[in-house]
């Protein structure tokens, strides 16, 4: 199935926008404005959602006219497009999204047709699934391990390279002692910490000690 690639899942949804917002601005302009102000990187509201590798929101105004001999066509409404690549199955992911980022979810979907009926994780999941279209040509740019595993392995990789640089030329015995200390410090089996922060786009402050 095109939505899945190993343990990675690619979600594509198109949710039609209401024609009016009830305010002096169109729903599309309002949501665009909110999107332009949303925090990015580690402080993005989506960084708190478990197992999201990557996600994107955009407003689809209309289809593009490709000049003659193509036909000029229009969509019947504007859409909020939400795309995400994530680990695991869709339902638990959407539940996590509702639980961890509900205010943000509400601010994004507030002006979507039918969203006023959404009031809990189950109805949010049902709503998104109703708006889902099949993802085609899905390419997963990372491994399909759970996000916490991936962040921990990135952390370990970087720490191990620092260790290698810092202990070059040590005797076997000293190296073994240092390596044991290193393992005790980095706790390879502990996914909670120390590890990398989700959503980080910069190495500065990326480590959760």
């Amino acid at each position: 199935m095109a939505n899945e690639n190993g343990n990675a899942y690619a979600l594509t949804t198109l949710c039609p926008l209401l024609e009016v917002s009830g305010e002096d601005t169109s729903p599309a302009a309002l949501i665009r404005d909110r999107l332009h102000r949303v925090n990015t990187g580690a402080s993005s509201p989506m960084a708190k959602v478990p197992n999201v590798y990557f996600c994107r929101f955009l407003i689809l105004d209309d289809v593009i006219y490709e000049s003659k001999p193509h036909r000029l066509e229009h969509l019947q409404s504007q859409y909020l497009v939400f795309e995400a690549s994530l680990h695991g199955q869709l339902a638990p992911y959407l539940q996590g999204m509702w639980e961890q980022a509900q205010p943000f979810v509400r601010s994004m979907w507030q002006f979507c047709v039918g969203f006023s009926e959404v009031n809990d994780a189950a109805s949010f999941t049902a709503y998104i699934q109703k708006c889902q279209v099949e993802t085609t040509f899905f390419f997963n740019g990372s491994t399909d391990e759970p996000l916490a595993e991936q962040l921990k392995s990135l952390y370990l990789k970087q720490e191990f390279s620092k260790f290698a640089y810092a202990h070059q030329g040590w005797s076997g015995k000293d190296l073994q002692v240092a390596f044991e200390d290193f393992i005790a410090r980095v706790e390879p089996a502990n996914l909670a910490r120390p590890t990398w922060r989700a959503g980080a786009t910069d190495l500065k402050g990326v480590v959760i000690p």
């Binding site: 290698a164 640089y165 070059q168 030329g169």
Partner: protein, 530 residues
């Protein structure tokens, strides 16, 4: 079929690396135009002195270089300079964005941050008003240089054109010119730079350049055949280095309108690069003490060449490199000692064959970097066919991923570092690169290959010599380099930690080098884009 280039229409510095012809002293000076008429009058007067790419040698077998000038003169312009000289807006808008922006505005792409930031550059490059005209003159001695410099100053009008000062010197005095010169050893010009490396060994070879065709070896693009022979190489397309000619993408390079303004012209990158010789020596001494082979081998691993120029790929040990260097020196000597014409010709052939060994190699048999590290400067800046990573046939040609990233390198050292080896002071290289697209060629190499490592599967590692190494959270130098070992041997790879920034930018800009035709059009104010 190779194009026949109008070498009389092409500025000489594009085709010839002047120091190779004995012009080992150079003076670079810059003007600001405040009055277009004055600027154009100056150019008109200057044009007869401009050195073209026309051959200096004639006479077939009995070679006479009667046409060799005593001094060379070349001229180039910034975008603001062209504007001030009256090139019409409709033409200006057809120049590439990076040229129009200039070097300061491209600092993030170039990695000119920290001590390399424009705020630390020589005053001439920090002025709110950019430079407009760049004149470079080359000669074999200082006296000739000074004479031509005075002649050119005498051509400049009394008003409307200002010679710009603001080049720092060791004494603290700011000069209206930047001199550079080969480093002399016992009165003889060497091709070494301040770190002690033989510089400018390898340069691209392109169709129609008219120089010695044996330069295709190592200078062209890889054919997949034996890199030690001419069959392993083919000339690069002219359009990689000259506008108005087909390039490696089978297109004409992006060029200004009208065609005559761009044809036979190119772009020039001028950079004053300071060298921290104290830090360099100290690092080699400290880390070289731990490195198998010692500090000289470590220096070679940084560059991909021994300091005498011998490539690591062909000469993996210091002993082999030294033997080669001795053979080379004695072959050079033999030319002068030849008693007959026949002897001299034979000696020249032997010397020429040895010269080829500096460049006749690729990394096909060294994919792992066992001989030349994957991160070595020469390998990063010109990967040859290394980006195939041994996957033969992956691309249209073995070196396809680097054929569009080649640059002609010109330049000479400035300042003295021999009397006292320290970071402070004025010593480095006046680096110049010539290419048809500053963005695609020079900037790409600088950004992706020198200041980043992803294309080489080296993560964030930077070029050990030129990389803009960063500081750790405590403010200590934090550059890194892996020196690979033979994967089949028990020897582990060697890690160079805490590499400091050995090279810092002190100024520069992007220039357009017009053809003689375009130069005349600019001087006469007749550039017509319609």
């Amino acid at each position: 079929m190779a194009p026949v280039l109008d070498l009389h229409d092409i500025q000489g510095n594009i085709i010839k690396a002047y120091p190779r012809f004995g012009f080992c002293c150079s003076r670079n000076f810059f003007f600001r135009v405040s009055d277009g008429d004055a600027g154009r009058a100056f150019l008109s007067a200057l044009i007869p002195t401009v050195t073209t790419a026309a051959p200096w040698v004639s006479g077939g077998a009995a070679v006479v270089d009667s046409k060799r000038p005593k001094i060379t003169t070349n001229v180039a312009f910034t975008f603001e300079g062209l504007k001030r000289l009256g090139v019409p807006q409709a033409s200006l808008q057809t120049f590439p964005e990076e040229f129009a922006m200039g070097m300061t505005a491209r600092r993030d792409i170039l990695g000119d941050d920290g001590p390399s930031a424009p705020t630390s550059w020589d005053p001439i490059w920090r002025s709110a008003d950019p430079v407009h005209i760049f004149i470079s003159i080359n000669a074999s001695n200082q006296a000739a240089l000074e004479q031509r410099y005075q002649e050119i100053l005498a051509l400049s009008p009394k008003s409307g054109l200002n010679l710009l000062s603001g080049h720092r010197t060791a004494s603290g005095v700011e000069l209206p010119y930047q001199d550079s010169s080969a480093i002399f050893d016992n009165g003889e010009a060497t091709s070494r730079e301040h770190f002690g490396y033989t510089d400018g060994v390898s340069n691209p070879y392109f169709k129609g350049a008219g120089t010695d065709s044996s330069n295709v070896i190592g200078g062209g693009k890889a054919t997949g055949k034996d890199a030690r022979t001419a069959a392993g190489w083919a000339p690069l397309e002219t359009g990689e280095f000259l506008l108005g000619h087909k390039d490696e993408a089978f297109e004409y390079p992006e060029a200004p309108i009208p065609n005559l303004l761009g044809d036979n012209g190119t772009y020039l990158v001028y950079r004053k690069l300071h060298q921290n010789v104290g830090s360099f020596d100290a690092y080699l001494a400290r880390v070289g003490a731990e490195f198998p082979g010692g500090s000289e081998a470590l220096a070679a691993k940084f560059a991909g060449r021994w300091r005498n120029g011998a490539p690591l790929t062909s000469f993996p040990t210091e002993q082999k490199a030294n033997e080669f260097s001795a053979r080379w020196a004695s072959a050079k000597l033999a030319i002068g000692q030849a008693k007959t014409q026949a002897e001299r010709e034979a000696a020249k052939r032997r010397f020429s064959a040895l010269n080829t060994e500096f460049v006749a190699f690729d990394y096909t048999d060294d994919i792992e970097g066992t001989r030349c590290p994957v991160s070595a400067h020469a390998r990063r800046s010109n990967p040859r066919s290394a980006l195939e990573f041994g996957n033969k046939g992956a691309f249209a040609g073995p070196s396809s991923l680097s054929d569009r990233r080649r640059i002609l390198r010109r330049g000479l050292p400035y300042g003295d570092s021999q009397s006292e080896r320290k970071d402070d002071g004025e010593h480095g290289i006046i680096f110049m690169a010539l290419c048809a697209s500053i963005r695609r060629q020079f900037e790409f190499v600088q950004q992706q290959w020198l200041n980043y490592g992803n294309d080489f599967r080296l993560g964030n590692d930077k070029d050990p010599l030129l990389g803009n190494q960063e500081l750790d959270e405590q403010g200590n130098a934090d550059g890194r380099m892996v020196i690979e070992s033979d994967p089949s041997s028990p020897t582990p790879p060697f890690f160079c930690a805490k590499l400091p920034r050995f090279v810092e930018t002190r100024g520069g800009d992007y220039f357009f080098v017009p053809s003689l035709t375009a130069l005349r059009m600019i001087a006469h104010g007749i550039v017509d884009p319609t």
